[in-house]
């Protein structure tokens, strides 16, 4: 199939500015990225490089009074950035869903898990009926008819129904979702509070909530960073298999190069607000070109300590707003030369599908 048909989201020259002390500071600077249907794209970077900002911008989750955008995020022919807040609301969650690093802070501690997932289902049905109604009807055919809850007496019902009874309305779908994320004993889990679950189970619940609206893009921001290694492997495996089932596009945002190799088809490396290199994962690991990518890979400890072999990148990531001129990596770069401090290097395609922004390859 033609690659362009599979393109789900096209990010074009996106910049995200934060308003800090009456200045606009670009946390994401002129980034272009394609996300494909049924593919997992990784976004690699250290803290402060703008990777989370980019993830949040995709579903317009940033506080809009303190943020300015330029560029485009095209999704199904619509520029998400040009939408009004109420229009964006219809996309958020329904089309593009987010999961985050620390599931405990994303779940409401005083409601049972099942109720929270049911709420997500309720909201999704409500939105779908607003979006056009046809999908809401098809979703309602297979059960007692929760869409009546939504369509008929919408609004009034929400105030009448306590969340506990929302779970009763949607219990079959919620159990089904919990089963999809491989939680055992779904009825019991649905009746538990978040604090009764382990970290891995909580992340599974978060994923279930995201799936409640069967989104076509899942943005996972450091989904396994707070988890143990064995749990991490299980969650990553789950995300992979759900991607197949739902034919979703997935954007995994991570600082862990290890996660990338076993999960993502494509990877982009971000540094100080810019994508410095992008390639299919195999290609990126086999043939890293940007000095930053090379540095990241070689600072990953592999062997025993003999002879202090571990190499490092000197210095640390510059703080937001005090990025150096020219190539932003040049003060830390071992191969920096004359043009680097002067102008930002253009992104060039060195081989098909492998793009890098560095004067060494210009």
């Amino acid at each position: 199939m033609d690659a362009s048909n599979q393109r789900l989201v096209e990010v074009r020259n996106l910049s995200v500015f934060y308003k800090i002390n009456y200045r606009l500071i670009a946390a994401v600077d002129n980034v272009s990225l394609d996300l494909h249907k049924g593919k997992i794209q990784a976004l690699i970077g250290e803290s402060g490089c703008g990777k989370s900002t980019l993830g949040l911008a995709l579903s317009r989750l940033l506080a809009e009074d303190r943020v300015r955008y330029s560029g485009e995020i095209r999704y199904k022919g619509v520029n998400l950035l040009s939408l009004s807040e109420s229009e964006a609301e219809k996309f958020r969650g329904t089309e593009i869903a987010n999961i985050f690093q620390e599931p405990m802070t994303c779940l409401n501690p005083v409601y049972k898990v099942g109720e929270q997932i049911a709420e997500a289902m309720y909201v999704s049905l409500q939105r779908r009926s607003l979006n056009g109604g046809d999908r809401a009807v098809s979703a309602s055919q297979n059960d007692v008819n929760p869409s009546n809850v939504v369509n008929g007496k919408r609004g009034r019902m929400l105030s009448l129904l306590r969340r506990g009874s929302l779970y009763k309305v949607f219990s079959d779908q919620v159990d089904d979702l919990l089963d999809k994320v491989k939680l055992p004993d779904t009825k019991r889990v649905a009746n538990m509070y978040p604090h009764e679950l382990s970290g891995g189970m909580r992340q599974r619940v978060m994923i279930a909530m995201a799936l409640a609206e069967s989104p076509s893009l899942l943005v996972a921001d450091e989904p396994t960073t707070a988890l143990d290694v064995t749990t991490q492997a299980q969650i990553l495996n789950l995300i992979r298999s759900l991607k197949e089932q739902y034919n979703m596009g997935v954007l995994i945002i991570t600082h862990d190069l290890g996660v990338v190799g076993s999960v993502a088809e494509r990877a982009a490396v971000m540094y100080a607000g810019k994508i410095v290199e992008e390639a299919p994962t195999d290609e990126l690991f086999r043939n890293p070109l940007h000095p930053y990518t090379i540095g990241l890979m070689s600072s990953f400890p592999r062997e025993r300590k003999d002879a202090f072999k571990l190499s490092t990148i000197p210095g640390s990531v510059p703080p937001l707003g005090s990025y150096p001129n020219g190539c932003r990596f040049h003060p830390r770069c071992v191969r920096a030369f004359a043009p680097c401090p002067k102008r930002v290097p253009e992104t060039t395609e060195v081989s098909p599908d492998h793009r890098v922004a560095c004067y060494l390859y210009g």
Partner: protein, 353 residues
């Protein structure tokens, strides 16, 4: 010839002396009682407790980096705090430099405190935000009675250089530093008293990849220069493999396998160790995650499984594993493992991989 054998026996004698542990922990047990409710009190039910440590024994030799690896909830942090007597053990013995310190009162313990230090995971919470760096770093000196301010300043300048920071930054506040630099400050504070032994509790987990490697190198260099012993607590097998001489793997308050770095990383015999190693994701190495054999998560430390503690998640578990708790038994040299089928698993593992 005669001289040679003499030298050799002497060497062995020295070696034997050196092999005497700097820190020796015997049968450490720590149970945290769970708050019981009114009804169970009325019924005189036996009070439940969290078994954070359940009979842990090991020694750390001088100049050795000893890593303790395990998932969260395995008791590794409790162990680190207990060794320093920052928490009290329920039972067990801790010997430091030949002296039993497990029951020493606080005033007598002070002498030992200067010889053992700790670096925690998150430097932004282990440094006081309102104290200048110099005050944070030299506070241990005040505690141990260095009265001269000038001397404290020179010592602070020294350690700042040791950890790769500039002395001009001594009057800064922690917020003016990046995460990696803050971790350097906590390391400086740990080494200012020239200790013999440092507990490193996840020293690199909160840092970025490129910073992590800088800190690992720093720790390595300090260990060599000051002949330190480390107790490295980590969940990251890669860090343990890179830095340590010996590794102990903990699961639910017990050591399930202990041995030299090579024993553990190359011929691990406990299924849990093998799973930990195989769950490590390396950049550039594709791993088929669906083939991983681990199920579920670490069970609660209140209601421990009967028999082997790992039986609920073990792909090799058989009947005996649900009945009999395996002892930590010697395989060869320094390699001990607590599994009924260790040999078989090693054989099977190597043919499968």
């Amino acid at each position: 010839m005669n001289l040679l054998t003499m030298l050799k026996t002497q060497e062995q004698a020295v070696d034997k002396f050196a092999r005497k542990g700097l820190v020796e922990v015997t049968d450490a047990v720590k149970h945290y009682p769970v708050k019981s409710d009114f009804v169970s009190k009325l019924l005189r039910k036996k009070r439940e407790s969290v078994h954070a440590l359940d009979g842990v024994s090991f020694s750390i030799y001088p100049k050795e980096i000893f890593a303790v690896v395990g998932e969260s909830g395995s008791g590794k942090t409790t162990l680190g705090l207990a060794v320093l007597r920052l928490i009290e053990l329920s039972s067990g013995k801790i010997v430091f430099g030949g002296d039993d310190i497990s029951t020493l009162p606080e005033n007598k313990l002070r002498k030992y405190r200067t010889m053992m230090q700790v670096v925690f995971q998150d430097p932004s919470s282990s440094l006081d935000n309102r104290m200048r760096v110099v005050d944070s770093i030299t506070e241990p000196l005040i505690a141990s009675g260095v009265k001269s301010k000038a001397e404290r300043w020179t010592r602070a300048v020294e350690v700042m250089k040791d950890v790769g920071l500039d002395e001009s930054q001594l009057n800064y506040f922690p917020r003016q530093f990046s995460g990696g630099q803050r971790q350097r400050i906590s390391i400086a504070r740990a080494i200012i008293q020239r200790p013999k032994f440092i507990v490193l509790d996840e020293p690199t987990s909160s840092l970025d990849v490129s910073i992590q490697s800088q800190i690992l190198l720093l720790l390595q260099r300090l260990q060599r220069d000051y002949e330190l012993s480390y107790l490295l607590i980590t969940h990251n097998m890669v860090v343990a493999k890179y830095l340590s001489d010996r590794i102990a793997v903990m699961y639910l308050g017990r050591i399930v396998e202990i041995g030299s770095n090579v024993d553990i990383t190359e011929s691990a015999m406990h299924p849990y160790t093998r799973i930990l190693i195989s769950s490590v994701l390396q950049p550039g190495v594709y791993k088929d995650l669906s083939k991983l054999q681990i199920k579920g998560e670490i069970p609660s430390a209140v209601n421990l499984p009967v028999g082997c503690r790992f039986n609920s998640r073990c792909p090799y578990a058989r009947e005996i594993c649900h009945e009999k708790d395996p002892e930590l038994r010697n395989i060869d040299g320094m390699h001990y493992v607590a599994c009924h089928f260790a040999e078989e698993i090693l054989k099977r593992g190597t043919t499968e991989e």
